[in-house]
């Protein structure tokens, strides 16, 4: 029998016992819905955490530092490099200066290279002064979770004379931290000023340190530190735009090392202790990290942490899937029951079909098609029900989150991606076909003479 005829006959048979077949299909739908709801919860949570991680900027970031070439320094990394022979103790380590930053920017998939600029400064506000640790922030940090729900706003530009305060430091300036927004404060810091070249001396003449002041406007107050306190943003009490931080040319810890090198006959270019490199996605971290290591720098990333997290979610999804599938397994018994009943009711009809020329295979495929059709319909309706359940969970959760103090922005707890839609329907059809195997085989084996005699 041709497929179209098979589908038409199966459809006709299903419509004949519409109530029983609908109830069986509904049973499959409930099973698929529970599977989809469970997995959508796992997928949604994974997506939410991945999004959070991506927004933190930690998982697509590589932290780059200059290598140390003297014994006792460089810690475990330095020892590994020496053991691996990647660092020659007689060679000067590559300097992390502006030229090196330009080379790193050319590594494939690198989207951003920002030096970690941090320095201690004297902050004057309302007649009193306090020491603060300043950190330069790139524009991309605006998407960091730390700025979600911040008081005020992010910097208006990368070189704006603006500051964002961490709430603990802000409390030192004013009890009512909200009132600080829009107020001015004065920054007093040590500027690194290069000295003019001296024709009589060898090498670079070095630099001098000059006290400078800069007035900044407070534009925001944040609760937590960006990047979870890791990398270039860590432990700051006050944050300023990265370009502004670079333009201030404040003395950095690395300047001491630079001046010592100059004494050995080298130059004293501006160098950076650490650089944060961002790549497009976490998948590109490994390749970029390897490329930067080959340039002679020490690197660190949280890639391994994301790998482990994926494994954990794979296990969680597996368990959720198993629990969700239990309902589908129960529903599959309904298919067996319905089709066995159909064989009893249509025994004579099967006999007639065989007398008219239907082979065992035709009868088997007819029952298989009926089981598969119930699987497709139940699967499609079940996916819809599962999606609806997920939407209700999202709706309820977001009502709860919005009522918290302070209100938490809405989240997508349950998510039904296209692969889950296709996979759930496919799984439903597979389970239905497996459930239909026994009835189909029993129908195919019916003796036509006995079937025709059946009243």
């Amino acid at each position: 029998m041709k497929s179209r005829d098979l589908f038409e006959l199966a459809g006709r048979n299903l419509r004949e016992a519409i109530l029983r077949n609908s109830l069986t299909t509904l049973g499959i739908a409930v099973g698929v819905a529970s599977l989809v709801a469970m997995l959508s919860l796992g997928v949604g949570l994974q997506q939410m955490i991945n999004k959070r991680m991506a927004r933190s900027g930690l998982f697509n970031a590589i932290f780059v530092a200059q290598r140390q070439n003297f014994r006792g320094f460089g810690g475990e990394e330095g020892r590994r490099n020496r053991d691996a022979g990647t660092t020659n103790p007689n060679e000067e380590p590559r300097v992390l200066d502006d030229a090196a930053l330009d080379v790193i920017r050319k590594v494939p998939n690198v989207t951003e290279v920002n030096p970690d600029i941090r320095f201690t400064s004297d902050v004057r506000y309302n007649g009193s002064s306090r020491l603060a640790f300043l950190v330069g922030l790139p524009p991309s940090a605006a998407s960091d979770d730390a700025f979600e729900g911040m008081k005020g706003h992010f910097f208006s530009g990368p070189d704006a004379d603006e500051a964002i305060l961490q709430v603990d430091f802000a409390k030192e300036l004013e009890k009512d931290t909200s009132s600080l927004i829009g107020k001015k404060l004065t920054l007093r810091y040590a500027e690194r000023q290069s000295l003019p070249a001296d024709k009589n001396s060898n090498g670079d003449p070095g630099f001098s340190v000059v006290r400078r002041e800069r007035e900044l406007t407070i534009v925001g107050i944040i609760e937590t530190t960006p990047g979870g306190g890791l990398g270039g943003f860590g432990r700051g009490g006050m944050f300023i735009p990265i370009t502004l931080a670079q333009n201030l040319r404040s003395v950095q810890n690395t300047d001491v090392r630079a001046i010592l090198r100059a004494a050995n006959g080298g130059s004293t270019p501006r160098t950076y202790g650490n650089v944060t490199v961002r790549v497009k996605t976490a998948n590109e971290v490994q390749a970029a990290e390897d490329a930067i290591k080959k340039m002679g720098f020490t690197t660190f990333s949280l890639l391994d942490a994301t790998r482990n997290l994926r494994r954990v979610f794979a296990v969680i999804d597996l368990f959720l899937g198993i629990f969700g599938s239990l309902a589908l397994a129960v529903a599959s018994l309904g298919i067996v029951n319905t089709l066995v009943m159909a064989i009893l009711e249509r025994r004579r009809e099967i006999g007639v079909l065989k007398a008219l020329g239907a082979g065992d295979g035709d009868v088997r495929r007819l029952f298989f098609t009926e089981a598969g059709a119930m699987g497709v319909l139940g699967g499609a309706f079940g996916v819809f029900l599962g999606w609806l359940m997920g939407q209700m969970i999202n709706f309820g959760t977001n009502i709860y989150l919005s009522r918290l103090d302070p209100p938490v922005p809405p989240e997508t707890i349950c998510s039904v991606p296209w692969w889950l839609v296709g996979g759930a329907i496919g799984f439903s059809v597979l389970v239905s076909l497996i459930a239909g195997m026994y009835p189909a085989s029993r129908a195919a084996r019916l003796n036509p003479v006995e079937a025709l005699r059946y009243e």
């Binding site: 007398a355 008219l356 239907a358 065992d360």
Partner: protein, 234 residues
Amino acid sequence: MTTDNGYAIRAQHVSRHYQMGPTLIRAVDDVSLDVTTGEFIALLGSSGSGKSTLLNLLAGLDRPTGGAILAHGRDLAQMSSQDLARHRSATVGMVFQSFNLLPRMTLEENVELPLRLAEVDRADRPGRVREAVDRVGLLKRMGHRPAELSGGEQQRVALARALVNRPKILLADEPTGNLDSATGEEILRLIGEIRERLGMTIVMVTHERALAERFAQRIVFLADGKLMSDGVHP
């Protein structure tokens, strides 16, 4: 295609035995029967004589436990179940006492069913269905379901369904058993006309001797599974 020296069916020492617990039932026991192409033969016998069992064996619905059945030269006992299904679809048309129409299908759909099973091209089906239904004179009832038809009309539909695949052999199992005598005669007259027009071979099981003598060319008597007599009716 007619082979085997003009025989449509040759049953050679055919037996169909059943084991019922310790008892061996000899439903058909060493029956030999030759049916020539275009012949109308009636199998007569009382209830339990084995005539319906023999008809099922000739149709390929059942397999003999002994002997051989050649339908147009091909031994049904040696065929696979798939080949037997093809034989039933292409070579044989069957009519039953209780009509065996599918109640949820219309007349047209019932007659189309063998064409679906034989994988006849969809474009050819309406013409073939109309031709078969026209032969039995029910063109005006195409959209009716079996419950809306009389017994005689239902048997005519069953006849159209048996003819739609243009079989070489028509096997009829008590085709008048559920009909009054007038309608039964009408059905047998129709079968006779079709045989004459299409040159089909007809094997009919009946227990009504008068009808058999009136319409069949040859009458074969069966009793207790054995062939008792085989004679050409004048």
